[in-house]
């Protein structure tokens, strides 16, 4: 089956600065792809090329086979976009805005039901300027979804939300996937990726450094580290020798990073037990560490 979103060899420059440098990926219907990377990595530029805001300098972007700039009208009718903040009249109410956007589409969701789904019923008549940051984000999500899009692009969808609102948004994104939408989200929250993403694309300085499913990334060479937590005064050199000479690096108070895969975990546990030292944690690293390693911020 064809990808709903297809990006091939995308290059975008601003003057001398190369913001996106040859990125390729696809998003299939009924899947969620998370675009992950540090600030300034090129996530928003990539997304804005798919949304038709920017024309690529090189490469190709297609949404259901259409060019988002040249064939805009074919793309916008089935595209739902959530920008990073802004995008609404501050003197209007959520209900007015959702009703307006509903009237742009042939078969929209019921505006009041949608406001209830994103938890804004009680604030439906308030002025946008009086909404909290998290409430504005949820309004923005409602506006993205009101036209029943089958391609959804969410730029940092849970930024500024409390834990409850975040769960609500995650649930909505999972429902979108179940209904067959292709979802592309940018984020720098790795727990969001682990919960939602079928595939992760990691971008760093405009380049794609990984494209895989989260489990594969966590099983891959970039995750070949074990973190050890202990309140005791540990002799890192002795531990390293006991593990056959693999590096053991102190990370700060009570934290060490063993440069080896999960196969060393039993040996680590045994080493602590043999010396009667307390051990409060030993586990493979998570997506956070993988991201830092792949984006060159951690050796």
């Amino acid at each position: 089956m064809d990808d709903a979103i297809r990006v091939e060899g995308l290059v975008k420059r601003y003057g001398d600065v190369v913001a996106v440098d040859g990125v390729s990926f696809g998003v299939r219907a009924g899947t969620v792809l998370a675009l992950l990377g540090p600030n300034g990595a090129g996530k928003t530029t990539t997304v804005e090329c798919i949304e038709g805001y920017r024309t690529p300098d090189r490469g190709l972007v297609r949404v259901h086979g259409y060019d988002p700039v040249a064939e805009r009208e074919h793309v916008v009718a089935r595209l739902g976009v959530m920008l990073q903040g802004g995008g609404t009249w501050r003197g209007a109410s959520p209900r007015e805005l959702v009703r307006l956007f509903a009237r742009f589409y042939a078969d929209p969701h019921d505006p009041d039901e949608l406001l209830a789904r994103v938890g804004l019923s009680a604030r439906a008549q308030a002025r946008v300027r009086t909404l909290s940051g998290g409430e504005q984000q949820r309004l923005s999500l409602a506006l993205a979804l009101v036209g029943r899009p089958d391609v959804v692009i969410l730029d940092e969808p849970t930024a500024g939300m409390d834990a409850r609102a975040r769960r609500l948004v995650w649930q909505l994104i999972e429902e979108l996937r179940e209904h067959g939408a292709a979802v592309l989200l940018t984020t720098h929250l790795t727990d969001e990726v682990e919960r939602l993403a079928d595939r992760v694309a990691i971008i760093d300085r405009g380049r794609l450094v990984a494209l895989d499913d989260p489990a594969a990334l966590l099983a891959g060479p970039a995750a070949d580290r074990v973190r050890v937590l202990s309140p005791a005064d540990v002799d890192a050199g002795a531990l390293a020798r006991a593990l056959g000479g693999v590096p053991v690096v102190a990370e700060g108070r009570g934290r060490w990073l063993v440069h080896a895969g999960p196969e060393v975990i039993p040996a680590v546990t045994a080493w602590f037990a043999a010396r009667g030292l307390p051990l409060s944690g030993v586990a493979s690293v998570g997506l956070d560490d993988v991201l830092l390693r792949l984006t060159g911020e951690d050796p």
Binding site: E51, G52, Y53, E73, V76, A77, R78, L79, V81, L83, G85, G86, G87, T88, W89, R90, G91, A92, E96, R99, L100, F101, R103, F104, Y105, A106, D107, L143, G147, R148
Partner: protein
């Protein structure tokens, strides 16, 4: 299969909300209704203006209609569009089925609706103040007045959108209000332009506001309708929107 609503439905929805937001904003109400109505009532009752031997309300109505037109087409449109741009509303609308030309048409439609209310209100107040006191209303004068107001709207909207389309909203706000005061001062609302020295009169006569006041004085009174005034206003009505279309940036 199209998942977008038909163009007319989109335009109608957008124009309706634009109008509601315009009428909800206190500053817009002040500049579009409060100031022109206030000028009309104040100077009709307090006869301090050199009104060229005309009863004050007869002299004032054309200038007040121009003040109202500038208040909506220049000031309110510029400021609302400027803030739309700053708050990324225009950008956000860019990924919906609403097209740019529909958005522009919706804004113009909302402004025209405001102007219908403005004209009704100003003429209503003038009538309550005794208008027309001593005016020989000419046949087709009303049609000429509507034509002149339409050209004026195009000129002022063009100026407002040229500001809003390129500058930050706060700067647009300051400049639109300054232009409103300058164009109003040079419009002949407060005194007959012929009272000015010939050189100044010639320069001021090139302002769209002055040309429009002169045309309304002709359409709604004994003054002649001059071809030069139609010419000046037509140049602004074509030129300002053309400049706006060229300099406008959506984000």
């Amino acid at each position: 299969m199209s998942r977008a609503a038909p163009p007319r439905a989109r335009l109608q929805a957008q124009a309706t909300l634009e109008l509601r937001l315009l009428l909800r904003n206190g500053e817009n109400l002040l500049v579009a209704f409060g100031i022109p109505a206030g000028l009309l009532v104040l100077f009709a009752l307090v006869d301090v203006l050199p009104t060229a031997d005309q009863p004050p309300v007869d002299f004032l109505l054309p200038g007040v209609l121009v003040a109202a037109t500038m208040g909506s087409a220049l000031v309110a449109l510029a400021i609302s569009t400027g803030f739309d741009r700053d708050y990324l509303v225009l950008k956000r609308l860019g990924t919906t089925p609403l097209r740019r030309r529909e958005l522009v048409a919706a804004k113009i439609g909302a402004i025209l609706a405001v102007q219908v209310i403005q004209v009704a209100l100003m003429v209503g107040i003038a009538v309550a103040l005794g208008w027309p006191v001593a005016l020989p209303l000419r046949p087709l004068g009303g049609a000429a007045a509507v034509a002149a107001l339409a050209l004026g709207t195009a000129a002022f909207a063009g100026i407002g959108l040229a500001l809003a389309g390129r500058l930050r909203a706060t700067l647009t706000l300051a400049l639109a209000n300054t232009l409103f005061v300058l164009l109003l001062g040079g419009s002949g609302l407060f005194f007959p332009l012929d009272a000015l020295p010939a050189g100044v009169r010639a320069v001021v006569g090139l302002l769209p506001s002055a040309a429009l006041v002169e045309l309304l004085r002709g359409a709604l009174g004994p003054a002649p309708l001059l071809l030069t005034d139609w010419g000046v206003l037509a140049v602004w009505a074509l030129g300002a929107p053309a400049v706006a279309a060229r300099v406008f940036r959506w984000e």
